[in-house]
Amino acid sequence: MTSISRRSLVGFALAVLASSGLMCDARAQDKIVVTASGGVWLESAKANFVSCFKERTGRDPEILVSASNDIMSRLRASPGNPPIHVAVLSEIDAIRAGREGLLDKLDPAKAPNLKDVPEIFRKQWDGYATIQNFGAMIVMVNGEAVKDPPADWKTLIDQVIAGRFGKRVSFPALTMPWGPMFTWFLTTLYDGNEDIVFQKYKAMLPNMAKYWVSPVEALNMFAAKEIDVLVYWDGRAYSFAEENKWARAYIPEPGAFQSAAMLVKPRGAPDLAWQYIDCVLSPKAQLGHAQMIKYPIVNSTVTYPDELKRILTPLAKVRQPDFGLILERQAAWLDRWNREVR
């Protein structure tokens, strides 16, 4: 009868663990893991950032397509020994990660292109993150159904409440990742009065097809003509309107809030990560990125070609949210949203 001794089994297991550990360590030293969003964002990361990194180092980074909250969970699980070496986070998560000690401060001596990124794109993050690209939430309408869309946000909201568009409108929910920022923007329209904003949210509900939680869901509703008015990101809205002549995208007065992708280096990531960050912020990669994703970028030395300038939301039209205030208020806002807007 065949038998296996306990000692030999334990020895075998230890040998397997040790060899896999050595392999992981070896892998960690010559490879970095970076994150990107899916679709055209991933394509742009490959075409602009990875190509630059490969040119400089001769190495291929591993690209992980992942959402901000997922990345945060991974960073929190291994502080100081991150499984991701350059990440793109949401604005709020970047602030949280910096405060929780999960990030290294971005160092212009190690990523020289940081010097060309204006301070406004870094200040609120205490040097732990920089905006990589930004956009704004604007309005997209079905031009066949809505001939003269309201010129400003407050009129739009009042017309939704009055039922001008029927139940064919979709605004972002407070529960989607940029929902608190949109709520902050609305409070700025009503002199900082949160009560009015929640009253408006509630009053719009009967005429809201849905407060959207997923960008894909929102665009699908609009593309299927289930709705005629959609509050959506500018780059995607302009791209959609370019391909579908019945759609029109515009920025209501007095502008829109800034919605950004934050570039960070997790604490403990290898020095190779600086090269990738410097590549992301390099003029050539930034311009290529803007051309592919149709969102503004942050390197001040980049000059947009005319056809791009025409569709990118100008910085003057964009308000950067007060993230300190949002962090302080968002739990209360979420509670009000769940209790009142239903």
């Binding site: 306990r6 949280r96 990742p177 407060y211 739990a331 979420l334």
Partner: protein, 283 residues
């Protein structure tokens, strides 16, 4: 000497149970204890750190809003379980009696929803239930008014029944297949009509499969939030969605952990109640 040899020998039963036990301790009991610890520990905010104790549990169990959400979660899971049982039982009977290609085809139809990603499946339902979707197009063809069921409890319920049906059908079908046909033949010989054969022979003998199916569907439904989020709206709130919101929107891990523990306690309570009822009904 003999004892020492025995110690060094591979003990198949202990060795086989070991990995599963370690897995459960590492990946179920461990995170569970961690969750309890987080819900009772310290909450850090930008301004302060607060010792929570049982404060979050008191908040959940004394706030009418959270009690409403708990009730809604429970009612949704019970309704979906009941609907899945009603739809699934005849289907399971058909599968267990079918043979050859028909059986393969039926099994494929039943398992098909599980092969599709939950988000894609939800978009499929939007195409069916939307204003210009299949249902309204069909109603329009026969001159009936449009209905608006997308983004409602009904839409959530239908989508959940669709995806959870395989768990019910496969549980019941496997029990039905184990029933010896000679029992039904004996009942028929004694003059029982097909309906009475089913009611007095097949149904009682398949109850264990139905109970297993109900437990699976109920537990899965209690934890479902993506379908609820995609098919519902602001009014369709369930406990698991609150957990998701607390984690992704405000990053409040202690409150999310406390809500998760309450959800787990609800499921365990229902399982306990169900076990008591089954034991009481057993002959």
């Amino acid at each position: 000497m003999a004892a020492s040899i025995a110690r060094d020998r591979w003990q198949p039963s202990a060795a086989l149970a070991g990995p599963a036990s370690l897995f459960l301790i590492g990946f179920f009991v461990g995170p569970l204890l961690l969750g309890v610890g987080v819900s009772l520990g310290v909450r850090h905010t930008s301004a302060s750190a607060t010792n929570l104790g049982i404060a979050l549990y008191v908040r959940i169990l004394t706030d009418i809003y959270y009690l409403e959400v708990m009730l809604a979660t429970l009612l949704l899971a019970l309704a979906v379980t009941a609907a899945t049982l009603v739809v699934g039982y005849p289907l399971a009977l058909a599968v267990s009696r079918a043979r050859g290609a028909t059986r393969t085809f039926l099994l494929f139809l039943i398992v098909a929803p599980l092969l599709v990603n939950v988000v894609v499946r939800s978009f499929g339902w939007m195409v069916v239930f939307g204003r210009s979707g299949l249902v309204n197009a069909a109603l329009g063809l026969v001159g009936l008014p449009m209905i608006d069921i997308l983004h409602s409890w009904l839409a959530v319920g239908i989508a959940l029944v669709h995806v959870l049906l395989p768990f019910m059908v496969l549980s019941i079908a496997s029990t039905l297949e184990g029933i010896d046909m000679t029992y039904e033949e004996a009942a028929a010989t004694l003059g029982a009509r097909p309906w009475r054969q089913f009611l007095h022979v097949v149904l009682p003998m398949s109850l264990h499969g139905a109970v297993t199916g109900c437990l699976l569907v109920f537990a899965l439904c209690m934890g479902s939030f993506v379908t609820v989020m995609m098919m519902g709206d602001n009014r369709t709130m369930v406990l698991s969605l609150l957990v998701y919101q607390q984690l992704t929107v405000v990053s409040d891990w202690p409150f999310a952990a406390a809500l998760g523990m309450v959800l787990l306690a609800m499921v365990m309570a229902i399982f306990w109640l169900q076990a008591r009822i089954v034991r009481a009904l057993a002959p």
